[in-house]
Symmetry: C2
Amino acid sequence: MAAQRDMATADAELAAAAHALLGDRRLIIATNRGPVTFTTAADGSLRPRRGSGGLVTALGHVSQRVPITWIAAAMSEGDRRAAADARLVRRALGDDETVRLRFASVERSVYEQAYNVIANPFLWFLQHQMWNLPERPVIDAATMRAWDRGYVALNDAFAREVLSQARGDREPRIMLHDYHLYLAAEPIRRARPRAILSHFTHIPWPPSSIWQTIAPPIREAIARGLLANNVVGFQTARYAHNFLRMVETFVPDATVDYDASLVKRRRFVTHVRSYPISIDPEATRRVASSRAARRRADQLLGGSREQVIVRVDRLEPSKNILRGFLAFETLLQRNARLRGRISFLAFLVPSRTGLREYGHYGREVQNAVDRINARYGRAGWRPVQLFYENDYAQALAGLSIADVVLVNPLVDGMNLVAKEAVAVSARDAVLVLSETAGAFDQMADGALAVAPADVVGTADALATALAMPREERARRLAKLRRGVEREDITWWLRRQFEDLAELVR
Amino acid sequence: MAAQRDMATADAELAAAAHALLGDRRLIIATNRGPVTFTTAADGSLRPRRGSGGLVTALGHVSQRVPITWIAAAMSEGDRRAAADARLVRRALGDDETVRLRFASVERSVYEQAYNVIANPFLWFLQHQMWNLPERPVIDAATMRAWDRGYVALNDAFAREVLSQARGDREPRIMLHDYHLYLAAEPIRRARPRAILSHFTHIPWPPSSIWQTIAPPIREAIARGLLANNVVGFQTARYAHNFLRMVETFVPDATVDYDASLVKRRRFVTHVRSYPISIDPEATRRVASSRAARRRADQLLGGSREQVIVRVDRLEPSKNILRGFLAFETLLQRNARLRGRISFLAFLVPSRTGLREYGHYGREVQNAVDRINARYGRAGWRPVQLFYENDYAQALAGLSIADVVLVNPLVDGMNLVAKEAVAVSARDAVLVLSETAGAFDQMADGALAVAPADVVGTADALATALAMPREERARRLAKLRRGVEREDITWWLRRQFEDLAELVR
């Protein structure tokens, strides 16, 4: 009851913040991936496919409260047709325009350059510090071409579509998202000097020494591009600080005020804030408590031993899956009494299988699992069980039965698995969490901390977690759960709306 | 004449600072590698071999001004015999004890752990950000054993030898050096609370997000170990700032004062300073103007085309040699008129050939050179000439005839080649310099800046340098040379002596 009243209050506060920001406007949101992508059916009509991913889920919550115009990149031929004719979209999605979907459309080859040369292999790797720096990246002529003709062009297309949707409004409210759209604010700002513009970066913001390795035209365009926003948001205070340092280092005509966390440039002020993203705990629990998920949880528990370690991740090098298994191997090696008594369930979602590094990393992970199972497995006990598929309900089922949840990314903007685990745990799971995950800044108190390269320390943390008395497990989980309930996705949205509404006044 | 008077003044100032610090004491210096290492001759006597390396050269200058006791790690069996019996050293080196040489001696296996498991493959790679982080480092049981039984033990042995040399002195003056000796100050401080202790790190100090990936016991021991010094010195203000941030992040009982650049812990104050290391320009020029070096310079010039690009580096991944050649390749590809008219002379010194990564990197470099020479070379013109040997005079000869000197490290504590090039240039060389080299902080004004991963930008900088009018070249070089003359090795030493003497008062 109390929880429901809290939620009602939270909803009311969010609605009030949205109204203060928007009045009777629509909120314009721009993201690379939209909530729907289209294929062309045999009869020529557009067939929608709902998207997934953390960002889509999070922003889906916005649309429940305020009317939004959502601009996404046209990724398929169907999307490009939809971009050309809005009626096709209406025909496919129905007349409900709570979410008005639009596309920023560029030629396929332009999009490929922006997405498959710059955003994913370049910016994602850079910001997750995933490079072997002595050899990569090599910023050659092809990279610079993809930047100019792909990334810049895509951002311009987004700006044009935003301006088209904001027609007639001198002060549109616009929220841009993530590493695909660092440059969109500047052309919008030029055309609408009084626009209220924000950008939120979902992934980590590395220190200047990392930005310093790459081509000055790119890093300066990114810094200046972001400074065209009224508010630039990051997952953590550390990332916000790194951005301020980057501006100080690379934008000589900007003045950085660390105490007020803002940047002044030609009398324009950009506020630099942190808004840790979160989940909808209630909705997450609904999925986990569906009949199918509960049945799956029982099966998983039946197939496991006394204690269960669980991880859920995209199969992605920054998630540090390999060292997680090495830590588990060390645990078994050092604690003979655990052999045959614990199960490690790893739910790995296929990801970016077209990138060479990901394929290589996947094979390394598989090799480690095979080695551990061969070395320690015995009749009736397979130490590691790998589930390689995209099954959200199953992953939540796994988290719900865990004694220990291992979240040890190399670096991570936030990491929502840590929060989902806390929301759905039915067995007082202990969270083993990397200090380098954005989530650590909120969850340090209840979690067991590990450093991502520290395989010995991670093995020790797993041992501590497995041996932890039930009361302490319950106490820690309760503390973490209170945090996730309080700082949920509604809180994430509301704080942004409030900060932007403040600027309107 | 003016220069000579300046040098005499500088010498007098240095002597005064040394006297203020030392009184009639000897200065105790501790470094991993000493000025001399010993082998055992057939007759059982010790045979000395003079060492090289930037640190030995720099510290050699100290001994010209003040009596020092120099403690180095016993690296050979001869060193271990010397450690056991100081008379053997005197017999081998003569009675002149301006430099009193002593050894910190541990068993060979202990030293191997400290040097070949921790210092070089771990700390060096960490601080130069040379890892492919998704896979390395793996801090496993062997790493932690090498840390405890190797690195910690070696530092303890250094502390014991320092204390033994400081016998009877309640306030010895001690300067510790570099990444082999982060932990030596603490045991010295415990035994001599009033000692004047400094530590200088010659290599880069990365941001906290890098330290955050490794085992907490290691990074905390490093931070706390350094805080036992009165002064902790770094090459640049950036590195000093990174150290302060590291202390703030990982040493909860310390208070960081960024404005005063100091750390307080239990009423003990550690000053955090930057002292950019340098060269002795006069001595460098003496080598470059020897008859042999001048003859070699003429030969090199005779074998080259109209314009000459030169690089001098240890063959070391952090030096970014590969991208340097890729930039040269891009230059030739884009500027057909340069083909046949420029020569790239690369003087590469063999380094750490036992480490797998170095061998691999060397092959990649050789492949790039072969490809460029095959693609663009023609009868009578080999675009790249590679000199793979340790010949200091030849390298200086190369620098003296350069039109352009390329210094593009991925990251570098200082980089003395940039300063040597400026000292010996006979043809108004243009310096193309990485922003990520420590030297950049002093030389930004006269050099052409490049970002290390930016192959296109580096090619552009080479083109700009090659096309630069003679007057601008001369103007830039003169400015750089004034800086190197002013902020030379004597200046580096004097500022440290003065800061330490201040603490004595």
